[in-house]
């Protein structure tokens, strides 16, 4: 929003000021809840509130015990291990399949494109509880309910729409004459893909992969149904924790996850800018 011109009336000034206050309040609403968990995770007592000692910045009011619990309690460590195994596996699967399909979809002549697209996007649209219930029964029939394979397949399919959308978006700006030029110069389809197309769509692929990763890493409804206790993931553990034993260990886990999401966000932002720069869509 450009600065107000010098001839702005008092009314305009007041309105502008009010508007800015409103916006600050909304930004506060967006970010404060996420940041508030961070100090509370260092609480010395097992409550979710600020103690007097904490407000007085008395070191006795703070402790690292919930982080210690998070890192040593077998429930939590197992959940972290499971999440760090399931999410990357699901990501690889959905990124590989999703990228191929996005390239296919971006060709100029695709029969039944509307219907295919609707099917491929459906995992993102169908309410999770319905997906979870369907997979629960079907995967039980297949004998993969309660196995890592079942959870990975389920999470992979939930992640594919994100890969398709992000990769398709990078392909929109893709100059077709580049592949033709490569073909003219004697490159086979595989070589064209590897040396021309891939580097250009790579930012889209990586950010799609990150979306797929976060989909699996943050998913709890489907894993509750498709998984068994052995596959308990971090969100699942947090879910049971919030329902049953409210301990600040959840806040320690939450803080670590917030830092993790800041990391992911930064990566995606950098990738997006890089992609726009390469394709000349933005001044950079």
């Amino acid at each position: 929003m450009a600065a107000l011109p010098p001839y702005a009336t008092t009314g305009e000034r007041i309105w502008r000021f009010t508007f800015n206050v409103i916006c600050v309040a909304i930004f506060f609403f967006l970010v404060f809840p996420i940041l508030v968990v961070i100090p509370l995770s260092f609480n010395a007592v097992p409550f979710f509130t600020f103690t007097k000692e904490m407000l007085a910045f008395d070191p006795a009011g703070y402790s690292l015990q919930w982080y210690e619990d998070f890192l040593t309690n077998s429930d939590w460590t197992r959940a972290v291990r499971n999440s760090l195994f399931i999410a990357p596996m699901a990501t690889i699967l959905s990124t590989a399949l999703g990228t191929l399909a996005a390239i296919g979809l971006s060709q100029s002549h695709v029969p039944f494109k509307g219907m295919i697209m609707a099917i491929l996007i459906s995992p993102m649209i169908v309410p999770l509880i319905i997906s979870a219930a369907g997979m629960y029964f079907f995967y039980s029939d297949m004998g993969i309910q309660g196995t890592y394979l079942g959870v990975i397949l389920a999470h992979a399919v939930l992640g594919t729409p994100f890969v398709i959308i992000t990769v398709t978006a990078t392909l929109v700006g893709f100059d077709k004459s580049l592949t033709r030029a490569a073909a003219n110069l004697g490159a086979g389809p595989v070589e064209t893909f590897r040396r021309v197309q891939m580097p250009l769509i790579l930012p889209g692929v990586i950010s799609g992969a990150l979306f797929a990763f976060i989909t699996s890493f943050d998913e709890v409804v489907v894993v509750l149904f498709v998984g068994a206790q052995q596959q308990k993931t971090l969100p699942w553990q947090m879910f049971t924790g919030l329902r049953e034993q409210i301990s600040p260990t959840i806040l320690a886990a939450a803080t670590i996850l917030v830092l993790f999401s800041i990391l992911l966000l930064t990566t995606v932002e950098l990738l997006r800018r890089r992609s726009e720069r390469i394709r000349g869509l933005s001044p950079g």
Binding site: C23, F27, V37, G104, P111, I129, M238, R243
Partner: protein, 484 residues
């Protein structure tokens, strides 16, 4: 030349399909097929004819409207069926299936099956009625006949709070059993509220982002994207931390003394819990008029201090407002001894909690589409309008706002689709009044085991979502979805 072109085109099509095929097959097998097979449970009723084949056949000739018991042939058929079912331990499965339609059938089947095994020969009619007199109830037979087909609409009827009566006609369930219409309605209303809230909060932010210089707006955009990338569970637990009774917000209100002021403000608009009445400033309540006190006292002895409310009303009626106010101090002291001095607000584990937490969670999904549409609206439009003499408001409302309507549509449908199927957040912060239809579906899958009803509710929910998706595709085009 033409044929060559056609051939090339065909090859191109095939190549595209080859690239898509792996994912398409993957999605069909791991996603579409499971959902399809689950949804088919909503009409599947083959269990009755599979376990009681002879009975179903024998019942063909029986007229349920006649209000007479079926003949010996039917009784003989069910005796044989039950014997076989009991051997295979399947009798209670069909019993539980029919119990959904008429309570009591489950135990009728369970109790009878054991004794039927000892029956060697007929006449079965008397023998069965001897075993359990419920067999002499024509309604049991009517239910059996009504639900003897391989397919049933029973689950769909149940999910619309309907059922078939003894004559096989569709009727409403008794009023104390109607729940799904209420739940669907509540899911819709709450999703709509959440959508409106996100629009209200999202519009100014998107506007700010779209009109600020690129560099600044990119920085502020991070504040929008951070919640988006933060785990749903983290955000939900953050709201529990903030809003619970011993939470940060309540602590702050009590600490700052704002709680009483706020409470008094709210009590003027709503009928508060009577038990907290005496802790509030009674003069204010009296100012709100005697009708208000009437309402309070009329709520009956459902809370400890309702006597207190009646007390004030009595004093008010006999001695007027001044006399009642003279007792203010005394009553307030009474309230404080009950510990109502530091009134805390129930902001979570109810509808408020669900709406606040979900508005926060879904707000980025509103801001992003709004922002991308607003970016394409040139500022010169507004300037042109102003230079033509329009006021600020007119320029915004008549020129800028109409240009952002596609963004509003896209954001609203997206947020609505996402919120209508929510499960986790309502389950954690919704209490009893803030749960959605999804929570009920989950209940029927894992607790009550009425999988057919869960499937029927799922179909209804899915239909709503698909309609909205279709609208979204028409308005925005699914190819134009942007993330991050």
């Amino acid at each position: 030349m033409k044929r060559k072109l056609a051939k090339a085109l065909f090859r191109q099509k095939m190549r595209a399909l080859m690239l898509i095929a792996p994912l398409l097959i993957f999605v069909l097998v791991t996603f579409i097929a499971p959902i399809g097979s689950m949804l088919s449970r909503s009409v599947d009723n083959s269990i009755v004819v599979e376990i009681l084949p002879r009975t179903v056949e024998a019942l063909q000739d029986w007229d349920s409207a006649a209000e007479e018991l079926p003949g010996e042939a039917v009784f003989a058929a069910i005796a044989v069926d039950l014997k076989e079912a009991a051997e295979a331990k399947l009798h209670t499965r069909v019993g539980s299936r029919l119990n959904y339609e008429q309570p009591g059938i489950a135990s009728l089947f369970r109790k009878s099956a054991r004794k039927v095994r000892k029956l060697e020969s007929g006449p079965y009619k008397e023998a069965l009625i001897e075993i359990n007199e419920d067999w002499a109830d024509p309604e049991v037979w009517a239910t059996l006949k009504t639900f003897s087909g391989s397919y049933t609409d029973g689950y769909f009827l149940a999910s619309a709070d309907l059922k078939r009566d003894a004559e096989g006609d569709i009727a409403q369930k008794p009023s104390d059993e109607r729940i799904y219409i209420t739940l669907f309605w509540r899911t819709m209303v709450m999703s709509l509220t959440i959508t409106l809230m996100t629009l209200l909060l999202g519009y100014p932010i998107a506007y700010l982002l779209a009109t600020l210089p690129m560099r600044t707006s990119n920085l502020l955009l991070i504040l929008v994207l951070l919640p988006f990338w933060t785990s749903l569970l983290v955000r939900t637990s953050a709201w529990i931390v903030l809003l619970q009774q011993q939470g940060v917000v309540n602590d702050f209100l009590v600490f700052s003394g704002l709680n009483s002021a706020l409470y008094n403000m709210i009590s003027i608009f709503t009928v508060p819990n009577v038990s907290s009445l005496c802790s509030t400033d009674i003069s204010q309540i009296l100012n709100a008029g005697p009708r208000f006190l009437d309402v309070m006292a009329a709520r009956g002895p459902d809370a400890a201090l309702s006597t207190c409310a009646r007390d004030i009303l009595g004093v008010y009626q006999s001695g007027g407002a001044e006399a009642a106010m003279a007792r203010t101090g005394e009553l307030q002291a009474a309230g404080e001894t009950w510990g109502y001095g530091d009134e805390r607000f129930a902001m979570i584990f109810n509808q408020t909690g669900t709406i606040v937490a979900m508005t926060h969670i879904l707000l980025p999904f509103m801001i992003m589409p709004l922002y991308s549409v607003m970016q394409t609206v040139p500022q010169s439009f507004v300037r042109a309008a102003k230079s033509l003499g329009a006021s600020n408001w007119t320029a915004f409302w008549r020129v800028y706002f109409p240009n952002t309507v596609p963004g509003i549509g896209a954001g609203a449908i997206l947020v609505f689709i996402l919120s209508i199927g929510y499960y986790i957040t309502p389950a954690l912060v919704g209490g009893t009044s803030g749960v959605f239809i999804s929570n009920r579906i989950a209940f029927h899958i894992s607790s009550s085991l009425n999988w057919g009803l869960a499937a029927a509710l799922g179909v209804l929910l899915l239909v709503v979502v698909l309609l909205l998706y279709w609208a979204y595709d028409k308005i925005v085009g699914i190819d134009n979805v942007k993330l991050g």
